[in-house]
Subunit: 218 residues, 4 copies
């Protein structure tokens, strides 16, 4: 009774852990976030962490999957409001999504960039496959819903576009050295540091879409 938690209670605790980690990740790198800090801030014992997540990497993997699920679900809901979308509409949508990712969910992009080089390294094969498949499923559903409204594009193409979008944003974020998150500014003015991630991302993605659409036409 007392020592057996309801599913709801368990979920709440695991989410608390996740939220704390997420918050920390906004201004810290993976290495800078220790299980100690997470436990302390979450107000639970370090050992308890491992009852909810087998490894540190699992916390982040979960964050990634849950995050994208929420994000894509919300996006899906918005799309449901439309009957049809022209290519121009779709382009605007993708650019808007780009802005949102960068402004409101850069953490999601950074988590995604963590997946291959870090998260999956310490996960076993099954976990890795499960994680990827889940992420894929989420994106797949969204892609289908969009393709249903943008008749010129297939779900595969749209799915592909989301991946490309992620790669572009991630590449730019990483390159910009996360300087927005760093405290000390370097007394130097070079292009690297002036990368306006949002503007760049939208430009690249925009031209990419233009090219893609043009190709389809011909």
């Amino acid at each position: 009774m007392s020592n057996s938690l309801t599913k709801k209670q368990k979920l709440e605790k695991s989410q608390r852990i996740a939220q704390v980690t997420l918050k920390l990740f906004r201004e810290n790198s993976f290495d800078e976030i220790t299980m100690d800090r997470i436990a302390k801030i979450a107000g639970i014992a370090k050992g308890t962490l491992f009852n909810y997540y087998k490894t540190k990497e699992n916390i982040f993997m979960n964050l990634l999957l849950e995050g994208y699920q929420v994000f894509f679900t919300q996006l899906d809901n918005q799309i449901m409001n439309f009957e049809k979308l022209s290519l121009a509409d779709f382009k605007n949508l993708m650019l808007k999504v780009t802005s949102e990712l960068i402004e409101d969910h850069p953490v999601l992009v950074r988590l995604n960039a963590l997946r291959g080089p870090i998260l999956e390294r310490k996960a076993n094969k099954k976990q890795t496959i499960d994680g990827r498949q889940k992420l894929y499923k989420i994106r797949e559903q969204l892609s289908k819903d969009i393709a249903y409204r943008v008749t010129e594009l297939t779900p595969e193409t749209i799915n592909h576009l989301f991946i490309t979008q992620g790669a572009i944003i991630s590449g730019l974020i990483n390159l910009s050295g996360l300087d927005r998150f760093n405290h000390e500014k370097l007394p130097i003015k070079m292009f690297d540091f002036e990368v306006n991630i949002e503007k760049e991302s939208k430009e690249i993605l925009g031209f990419y879409l233009d090219g893609l659409f043009q190709e389809k036409e011909s």
Copy 2:
């Protein structure tokens, strides 16, 4: 002279260390590469490592700077053969460079992605600035030489393009989980794993250039 290594010999040994590290980096992440492993494979004592490079990060930073220097110098030499380059020529050039980076020097791109979040963390401000400036200089010279031949573009734009190119490739490589470099193939077929980095990069960059050129014209 006797026991004193000539500059050439010293360079050779420091390059041996660098080569060992580079080789390890092809299939391992920064964290997985320890000074111990480097020393062992290079066939020298761990302490000797520090006679050539003051920190682990220095080895990688050097690898990055030297690598780009060589790569861009070769590129520069190729360009010197031309009198003038049309925009179409330039586009082909950028696409060819993209292929080369991905096929022959993916390590360079990954090193560059390491710079901000890892290499510069443990370097002091001066080293960081020096490193960045050196890298910048290299790219700057190349950009000027190209701009001289592609009259429609400014050096700044070209420099910008190289950075964008790096970001795109880096984003895709990272996203693809480096699977092509891993030993074990995952028994799974999903889009992520089928990302043909080279094809994708060229497509994105190609369309980006098209859009950019078109914009200039109007």
Copy 3:
């Protein structure tokens, strides 16, 4: 409760570590005492050490502060038994304290000598200041209690005297090469080795007090 050590238990373990370190310090210099040795002798893992003390220096700093606290508190208690103390009484007191420090707590003096050149080096500014202030507070209280009973002297003068006393003893202990604490006796008879630290210290301090008192009178 179960696996959680009570405050008392934690204190006991941290004191065990401290005691081991103290014991080692009796016959070894700071550099000769490694965290490895401390852990081994304390019968715990090296990592455990760092759960109780963040740095090696912290162990010693703690030893110093705790040691003086205990010593001065005991001294304070003795003083509380008196209503008033004449200058002669006070002189006797200081000489007695000198004997006690040398006979029973030479380690305390040596720790104090370690503070500036070693312990505070690796401590951050806050720690350094805190440590010094704590030590100062301890001595200050004692000085006040004494000054209350020795009407001819101010607390400042007395505080000053304790510091001078420490310097004299420390100087002599260090000079005598700690030989009395070393295992091997040197087969040599020279003045240095015959320094009777206790006798010397008391003589110097005694005369110093005499001079000081005489000065006050005139």
Copy 4:
């Protein structure tokens, strides 16, 4: 011929090493001075150091012995100018020497403080004894010359006084945390940091001498 140095040349080189070390020791602790730095500043190879001094500790021990030799010799010369010295003269002399040690040769005192805890630890028994004996001889000669002029005191007493003097100064220097040599000042005002080493030393020694002389009279 070319590969065999004259005694003079050898002496010069060993003195150069010594001078460099001495200079470094003025603003650095023993640990902060590496053989590397010494060699570099002296303009010789690191290996060469070991042709002149078998160990790092030997350099410092030599510095100590040579330093005192010079200092005491100069002092001896000054004394030779006098026929007789009264006790008051002698006291003034000792106080003047104290000032000189603190103002001009604090390094000497610090070296002396290094002898027991550091220098002799890594030296073998013979070296230790030799070093001590040499130092003793130097001081002994001086003591005799003084005793000859201060008829009230024996050479032993005077020798003893020099040791006491060294202990007092050393104790105070160490206690003051070498703050005069530190770059960063602590934003704190406590007695410890206000120790005026020279004033304190002279006061303690002065009173000590007063007491001693008074004792002799009675």
